[in-house]
């Protein structure tokens, strides 16, 4: 089979139960139709699990852990890896991406991705080089926090590589790993990389943990994959970077100036588990982070000049030693305002701690805020927790983060993620906890509210009909325009912050792959194909949760309560608008009025293989 351009050409298939490693390829048609990352992972999952989807426990050995690059990974600015599998939280699939050198190291080692099945008997990590994959003991790494994992693995792998082949100095490998939260199968735990980068949505940290897989490490020395039109790619690469470099305010401020302005201006920031979305705490403004904590003002991953990241380090006081990319708006909001914490040092500490524990800084922190609101309402008590969980008390949130990561006490319940914990606590306490659970389809919502309608991302059906639920990186607009956004970026696998004009991106994709691709064709075929397949998975769900069409295609209740303060006081999400746009969205994608893909649509998108399962749902 010929290798399509832009691909390294093979995938590693690793059966941990049988310790079997093989190289795998996929038909060119699959690659053209599903591209890579999010799209291709969904196809692989169907191929391998298919109609048994509902019966497969996401945390059981039959689920797959998939880490894929895409044809644009490493070549287009902003290298990323896409993690997928049956999501332990949504029970569908999420294309969960993280910026990491692991992605291009994998590709320069000759692989476009790794597909892990089964379950190792004891903790292992996988090492990928040009010689293939190797399963290695990770008993000594199990239990280590993220920072420690990186340090140990970096040293160890470099030493192993050196002992295998002398080349001069071996440069450090790329890696993805889980922290204690992932190991202990905290359901919404994430796959971590580079200390503070995460594939956060989808709960794939617990999936790794369920396989006893601590990390995957890759080191390649080959070239990045050959492309269809190399001269064009070189020119487009320069042009793309010109666009990134010109975005001065983004490069300067990152996302972290949003911690103050998103709240004060747009009033769409989670404050105390979304009881509010407005604050005017100047202490939380960008310069307060920048002046005191930013030790590197422009930090980036491979082939990126956006530099949205800023390395922050707390150098004195109680939280001395905390290092993270901060403020990153999401964690600034979720590990700050959402906890009622408005002190930059506390925010940096809690963000760093949550990263180090391997929690999702959004999902896990959402659950912690949820717990704090239950405490505020007297549903959870000091006895349940072992301490007071007051808003704004950084120490208390430090404790709850650890409790959940290690599944201690009430942490064991909260470790099931906000939605499942709400179900359990409702049962345990006899009080309906669901009104305080801010999630859509089990996925805790990103730090952009819909009520003010002033946010730059999230509106009415932004989350409600999203096949990735509360994922703010893959927001729904109208079933057409957004398909060339995150659905594309997550499948081509690059960072959506490597922002250039869409025309340039599609020319870039064509020049890399040689596929006869247009924005329109992607929006009409590839995008809908991927999203429809994801929708099918999501509808199938199971075994513990099955989402109800329409009823679960909605915002959490809180998003319909009026905003209590701020410039948008009294305003809330328009339920009628949600209903109307939801139907329009289904229609555009060729789904029926309950959101089930129609037979015609499946045929048109070459998804005939789904028909049997979808018939059952209609």
């Amino acid at each position: 089979m010929m290798t399509p351009r832009g691909y390294a050409g093979k995938f590693l298939d690793i059966d941990l139960t049988n310790e079997k490693i093989t190289n795998t390829t996929f038909p060119e048609k699959d690659l053209e139709q599903y591209f890579g990352g999010r799209g291709l992972a969904a196809k692989i999952l169907w191929d391998r699990i298919g109609e048994k989807w509902r019966e497969v426990d996401p945390l059981g050995p039959d689920n797959l852990f998939i880490a894929l690059g895409g044809p644009m990974t490493g070549i287009y600015p902003g290298g990323r890896i896409c993690i997928s599998g049956k999501s332990p939280v949504s029970n569908g699939t999420v294309g969960s991406t993280a910026s990491t050198e692991f992605a291009h190291e994998l590709r320069t080692a000759g692989y476009d991705g790794v597909i892990v099945s089964g379950r190792a008997e004891k903790p292992v990590y996988i090492m990928v080089t040009e010689e293939g994959g190797e399963i290695k003991d990770a008993s000594h790494l199990w239990g280590t926090m993220g920072e420690e994992t990186i340090k140990l693995l970096n040293k160890e792998v470099t030493r192993v590589l050196d002992s295998k082949k002398e080349i001069g100095l071996w440069k450090e490998p790329g890696m993805i790993y889980v922290g204690p939260a992932g190991e202990n199968m905290v359901r919404n735990a994430c796959v971590m990389t580079k200390l503070c980068h995460a594939a956060g949505y989808g709960g794939y940290g617990s999936l790794m943990g369920s396989k006893n897989l601590k990390a995957i490490v890759a080191k390649g020395r080959g070239a990045l994959p050959e492309v269809y039109a190399p001269e064009a790619v070189k020119l487009l690469w320069k042009r793309a970077h010109e666009h990134l470099i010109a975005n001065d305010s983004f490069r300067r401020q990152g996302t972290g100036y949003g911690g103050w302005s998103t709240a004060t201006s747009y009033s769409s920031e989670p404050v105390r588990n979304w009881q509010d979305e407005w604050h005017d705490e100047r202490s939380f403004g960008g310069p307060m982070f920048e002046t005191r904590f930013w030790v590197k003002k422009k930090w980036s991953d491979f082939n990126c000049t956006t530099n949205c990241m800023k390395v922050a380090c707390v150098k004195s006081g109680k939280w001395k030693g905390a290092i993270t990319d901060n403020p990153d708006y999401e964690l600034q909001a979720y590990c700050g305002a959402n906890f009622g914490v408005f002190d930059p040092a506390e925010n940096i500490h809690l963000s760093a701690l949550i990263d180090n524990l391997g929690h999702s800084g959004i999902g896990g922190a959402n659950t912690m805020g949820f717990a704090a609101e239950l405490y505020q309402r007297g549903i959870l008590t000091e006895e349940d927790l072992g301490f007071k969980l007051e808003w704004g008390d950084a120490e208390a949130f430090d404790k709850i983060a650890r409790l959940i990561a290690y599944r201690e006490g009430i942490g064991d319940v909260l470790a099931e993620g906000t939605y499942r914990a709400a179900l359990k606590l409702t049962e345990m306490k006899g009080v309906d906890c669901m009104p305080y659970a801010i999630h859509v389809k089990g996925i805790e919502i990103g730090a952009h509210g819909t009520r003010s309608d002033a946010d730059f991302l999230a509106h009415d059906i932004g989350y409600a009909v999203n096949v990735q639920g509360g994922d703010h990186t893959s927001i729904v607009r109208d079933g057409y325009h957004e398909l060339s956004g995150a659905v594309f970026a997550d499948s081509a696998v690059y960072c959506s912050f490597a922002r250039t004009p869409q025309e340039l991106i599609f020319d870039y994709a064509k020049a890399i792959t040689g596929y006869p691709l247009t924005i329109e064709s992607w929006r009409r075929e590839n995008g809908p194909r991927i999203v429809t397949l994801q929708k099918a998975f999501l509808l199938l769900g199971g075994p513990d949760v099955i989402w109800e069409p329409i009823k679960d295609d909605d915002n959490p209740e809180r998003f319909y309560a009026p905003l209590p303060t701020g410039p948008f006081k009294g305003r809330t999400t328009d339920r009628k608008l949600v209903e109307r746009r939801r139907l329009a969205y289904f229609e555009t994608l060729g789904w029926d009025d309950r959101g089930i893909p129609t037979k015609e649509t499946l045929n048109r998108l070459d998804l005939g293989y789904l028909e049997k399962s979808m018939t059952g749902l209609r």
Partner: protein, 172 residues
């Protein structure tokens, strides 16, 4: 035209204060550090903080002026002082969250950065020397701007900790 703004990267400031000299050349015709619209505060050696107007989106100084001597230049977003109208009451610097305006050492008139009408001299000399502590960007109004209107000693306290770690807590 897009409004302009002066980005400030405090840790890049060398303390050379050519910005003050360039500013005073432009506005005063001669070297006059204390009349410069940008003043580099240096409460501890090595911790230098260029202090200049950040053009807040709500212009509290303009609001505060009892005689309407302050106005906003629609093009640049700079605060413009009508020196004839100014009564030297000091309301503007008291209203400023960072106490940026000051009364001129010669005639006590309110003195505020006017962005040199669009091509700030301070930025030019800073860039020329390769510090890029002060840098010009063409950007629209942002609510974040007013967060830069901060007491320079407070800024220096933060900066000192970033530079010197725990020791930084003691030096200012």
């Amino acid at each position: 035209m897009t409004s302009i703004w002066i980005v400030r990267d405090y840790e890049n400031c060398s303390g050379c204060r050519r910005c003050e000299l360039a500013c005073s050349f432009h506005h005063e015709g001669w070297m006059w550090p204390e009349a410069s619209r940008v003043r580099v505060f240096m409460p501890f050696p090595g911790v230098e903080v260029p202090h200049l107007c950040a053009q807040c989106d709500d212009y509290p100084c303009v609001e505060s002026c009892p005689v309407d001597a302050l106005s906003v230049d629609a093009d640049t977003t700079a605060v413009i002082v009508d020196r004839d109208a100014c009564t030297s009451c000091g309301a503007c610097y008291r209203a400023c969250p960072g106490t940026v305006p000051f009364l001129h050492p010669a005639d006590n008139k309110a003195t505020i950065c006017d962005l040199c009408g669009g091509d700030p001299e301070c930025v030019k000399v800073c860039k020329e020397a390769g510090y890029n502590c002060l840098r010009l960007v063409h950007e629209g109004m942002s609510p974040n701007r007013k967060l830069f209107s901060r007491n320079p000693i407070e800024v220096a306290k933060d900066l000192a900790v970033k530079m010197f770690g725990e020791k930084g807590e003691e030096v200012i």
